[in-house]
Symmetry: C2
Subunit: 445 residues, 2 copies
C-alpha cells in the first residue's frame, strides 16, 4: 500500500468516529490547539526561520519573489493571530446535526434530513504556513478528517504546526488519524487519485495550481481558479455612485479575487463617466487599457486587446470597454468572466433585474462593490473558500460547505407493503417542527 493510501485509509476510519463526537469535545479540542500553538510560539518561529532562510537563498537566485518570501514569514503577532483564529472557529455554531428538513411520513414514521460531515477532505496549499492551522480548525469543527499537503518552501513550519495540532487534538480526545500530513511532492499525484477515499479537495494557491488540481483529479474541488470580476456602468447609473463603486472595486485592494478587472460602460454615459473615473484611477496609479471607443474619449490610455478581457490582473490595471446595450454587457461577462462576482450600477430596476438574472455568476450585485463578495462580509463566519463551480457549494463558502446531509427515518415497524395494493395507506407528508438534536439528546443516555 502506498504511503498516501495508508494515510487516507486511517483518515477514513477516523472520520467515522469524528462524525459522532460532540460539539463540546470538538470545541474543547480547538481551544486546546489554540493554546498549544500560542505556548509553542518560539519553536514555531525557529522552524519558520529555517524555511525563510532557505527561501531567501532561492530569492537571491531569482527563483522566488520578495512577496513570496514575505508571505512565508511568521512573527509572534502572526502566531497569536493564528491562535485567535482557531478560537473564533471554536466559537462558531456547530454546523453538524442541524435539521434541514423534518417531516411526518405517516403516524409514528418520521423523516429527518440532518447535516453531517462529508468525510475526508484533501487540502493542498502553497507557501503561507497559516493555511495549515486554519484548514485543520475548519475540518475539525465540521467533523471531517483532513489530509494536508503544504508547499515544500514551508516544510519545517508546516511540520511543527501539524505536530502541535495533532498532539493537542488527540490529547483532547479527538480520534487518532483524523489529521494527516503528506510531505513528498510526488505524493500529490497519489492524493489526487484517491477518489475512493477523499471526498472533497480544497486547494489554495495560484490560478495555475488550482487549474492543475481541477484537471488532474476526479475528486470534486471546492474553490476557484480565478476571479475575473466586472463592473457594468449602465446608462441609467447615478454618476457619483458609479465613480465610487468603480473606484472601490478596483482600488480598495487589488491583489484579491473579488477586485474588479474590467469596467463595462454603456455608450450613453461613457462621455460623462469615463473622464471622471479616469481622473480617480490616475491619482491612484491605476493603469487603464481601453477598447477603441474608450480611447476616443481617454486618448492617452493603452489599447486593450482580446487578451485583456480574459486577464485577471490582480494588480493596479483595469480594462475598459464601451458597450451599446445592457445585453452586450451581460454577454461579455458570460463569455469572458469566471462566474465569480459581477456588479451593475443603475437606477433602473428593470435593468438591474435583467442583469442580476442574466449574469451567470456566483455573486451578482446591484449598486455595490464586487469587493463585498466574501464569507466574512456575507456573515457566513469562517470562510472555507469561494467556489465558482455550480455543484455542492457556490460563491463564498462557510463551514456549511464542509457538510453534507443524511436522512434518518424513524419508524415503529413500518413496512412499505402497507402503502401499496387496494387497501393502501396514504402518506401524510406533513412538515414537523421537532429537531433532530432534541431526539438525539433525549436518546443519548
Amino acid at each position: 500500500m502506498k504511503s498516501v493510501e495508508r494515510k487516507a485509509t486511517q483518515a477514513e476510519k477516523a472520520a467515522l468516529k469524528l462524525a459522532n463526537t460532540s460539539t463540546q469535545s470538538r470545541d474543547e479540542a480547538l481551544i486546546k490547539i489554540a493554546s498549544k500553538i500560542k505556548e509553542n510560539t518560539e519553536s514555531i518561529l525557529e522552524a519558520n526561520e529555517e524555511d525563510v532562510e532557505e527561501a531567501e537563498k532561492l530569492l537571491e537566485r531569482g527563483k522566488y519573489t520578495q512577496a513570496f518570501v514575505d508571505r512565508l514569514k511568521l512573527s509572534g503577532d502572526k502566531v497569536s493571530d493564528i491562535a485567535r483564529m482557531i478560537r473564533s472557529v471554536a466559537e462558531q455554531e456547530d454546523p453538524l446535526g442541524r435539521t434541514l428538513d423534518a417531516k411526518e411520513l405517516d403516524e409514528n414514521l418520521e423523516l429527518y434530513k440532518v447535516s453531517v460531515p462529508i468525510g475526508v477532505l484533501g487540502s493542498i496549499f502553497e507557501s503561507r504556513p497559516d493555511v495549515l492551522p486554519q484548514v485543520s480548525a475548519l475540518s475539525l469543527k465540521s467533523g471531517n478528517s483532513v489530509i494536508l499537503k503544504g508547499g515544500s518552501e514551508a516544510e519545517k513550519s508546516n511540520k511543527i504546526l501539524f505536530k502541535l495540532v495533532k498532539e493537542a487534538s488527540e490529547e483532547a480526545g479527538i480520534p487518532e488519524g483524523w489529521i494527516q500530513l503528506i510531505e513528498a511532492r510526488r505524493e500529490v499525484r497519489d492524493l489526487l487519485e484517491m477518489d475512493e477515499k477523499v471526498d472533497l479537495l480544497i486547494p489554495r494557491g495560484s490560478k495555475k495550481f488550482i487549474r492543475f488540481i481541477q484537471e488532474n483529479s476526479r475528486i470534486p474541488v471546492l474553490g476557484h481558479a480565478e476571479g475575473l470580476c466586472h463592473i457594468y456602468v449602465d446608462e441609467k447609473a447615478d454618476m457619483g455612485m458609479a465613480v465610487r463603486v468603480s473606484f472601490d472595486g478596483k482600488v480598495q485592494y487589488t491583489a484579491v479575487c473579488n477586485a474588479a478587472e474590467t469596467l463595462l460602460v454603456h455608450r450613453e454615459i461613457a462621455l460623462d463617466f469615463l473622464p471622471r473615473i479616469a481622473e480617480k484611477y490616475r491619482e491612484a496609479g491605476v493603469e487603464m487599457r481601453g477598447c477603441e471607443r474608450t480611447r476616443e474619449i481617454l486618448e492617452d490610455i493603452t489599447e486593450a486587446t482580446e487578451d485583456d478581457w480574459r486577464t485577471e490582473y490582480l494588480d493596479s490595471i483595469i480594462s475598459i470597454k464601451i458597450v451599446d446595450e445592457l445585453e452586450e454587457a451581460i454577454d461579455h461577462i458570460n463569455t469572458y468572466g469566471s462566474k465569480h462576482t459581477d456588479s451593475i450600477i443603475s437606477e433602473d430596476k428593470d435593468r438591474l433585474l435583467k442583469f442580476l438574472q442574466g449574469v451567470d455568476s456566483s455573486s451578482v450585485m446591484a449598486n455595490a462593490s464586487t469587493r463585498f463578495s466574501d464569507g466574512y462580509r456575507y456573515g457566513l463566519g469562517a470562510e472555507v473558500g469561494i467556489s465558482t463551480g455550480k455543484i455542492h457549494a457556490r460563491g463564498p463558502v462557510g463551514l456549511e460547505g464542509l457538510t453534507t446531509y443524511k436522512y434518518y427515518v424513524l419508524g415503529d415497524g413500518h413496512v412499505v407493503d402497507s402503502y401499496s395494493g387496494p387497501e393502501a395507506k396514504s402518506f401524510t407528508h406533513m412538515e414537523i417542527s421537532k429537531k433532530w438534536r432534541e431526539i438525539r439528546d433525549s436518546w443519548n443516555d
Copy 2:
C-alpha cells in the same frame, strides 16, 4: 467542432435564457408537451413497434433477455402514464427563485441566496423509452438545458419522443436549443468529456453502465451504481417487528435498489429469530445464504461466501450473517455497503442512536423497512434519482437536486472601503424575512 460540442454549445446558450423564463411559461410548456404526446400516441406506438421488432430479433439470437424487451415496449396506457407524469411535474412547486437565505448586511445593503438552475444536464440512459420524457420534464421544470442519449435499442421511440418534446416546448416559447439528442454511440465519449459545458450527469441504467460513466468523466454524476442495503436485527429487537420488516425489505419488491440484500442478526436473538424469518422467506421462495453460525441454526441453507456480502442480488436471494455486537454490524455495513439505505430493528434507543450515527449511508432507518427510501415516499415530489455520493445531493433527490444557488447583493452605492480602517462601519448581519420573489416581481415591469 464536433457534433456533440456544437449541441452542448447550443444547450449552454439556451440555458442562460431558460433560467429566466417564468414559472408559468415553463408549466404551460409542460402541459403542451403532455398533450402533444397524448395526441401522437399512434405514431409513438408505431415507432416503438419498430424498436421492439428489432429487439425481438436480437432476443431470438440470445443477445437480449425477455425482461429487456418488455421494458422497451410501450402501450397506449403507458403513453397516457407518460403524459400524466409530465402534467404532475408541471403541478409541482417551482424549484427556482426560492429564497434560501436573506440577510441585511448593513442599511440598504441586502444579501439574497436564491435557487437557480444548474445549467446543462447530461442524461444517458438505457432501454426504457419513458426515461426521455421524464428527464426532459424534470429538466424543463428546473430551468436546465438537457442533452439526452438513449440506448440504441430504443432509437426510434426516443427520436419521436424527442421531436414531440422539442416541438411542443418551442411552440410554447421555451428557448430553442434547450433540448438536444445524441444518437451515435461513439458520441457518448465526447459527451463525457464536455466538462466545460455540461454541469451534471444523470445516468440511468445498470450498475456496470453507471460505474463506466463515473469512471470516465470529470463531470459530477448524480445517482448510484448500486443499492446494497442491510437490515440489522438487534438483540433488543421486537420479534414481530423484526420479522415483518426483514420480510418487507427483501420480499415486497426484489428488483429495486432499496431492497435488502443482507440481514445481520445479533447472536443473542439469532436462535429465536432466524427460524421465524426463514419460514416466511421459504414461503415466499427466497433463497437464503448464511454464514457458518447461521447455518448451525438454519442447517439446510447455502453457504454465504465473502462475495455474497458484496453482492446486490436484485432478486429473491438474501445473505445472512450473525454478528457478536452492534459495532460489528455497523462495521460490516460501512465495509460492504454502498452508502444507500440501511436499517436497524431495536427497542433500545441508545443502540438506535449508535446505529443511525455510525452507519455512513445516505438513508439510515430505525424500525422501518429499507424500501421507504424513495423520493415519492419521502414526499419530495418527482424523483430525479437516488444519490450515494456525498457532494451536492444525497439520498433520494427531488427537483431541488437539479438546482444550485446564486447570491444577489443589493446595495445603494455601498463600497468596501467604508468597512475598513479606523472609522470602519460594522456589518449588521441580520436575518430578514423579505423574499427574493417579492423583489423580483416588484421590479419586473
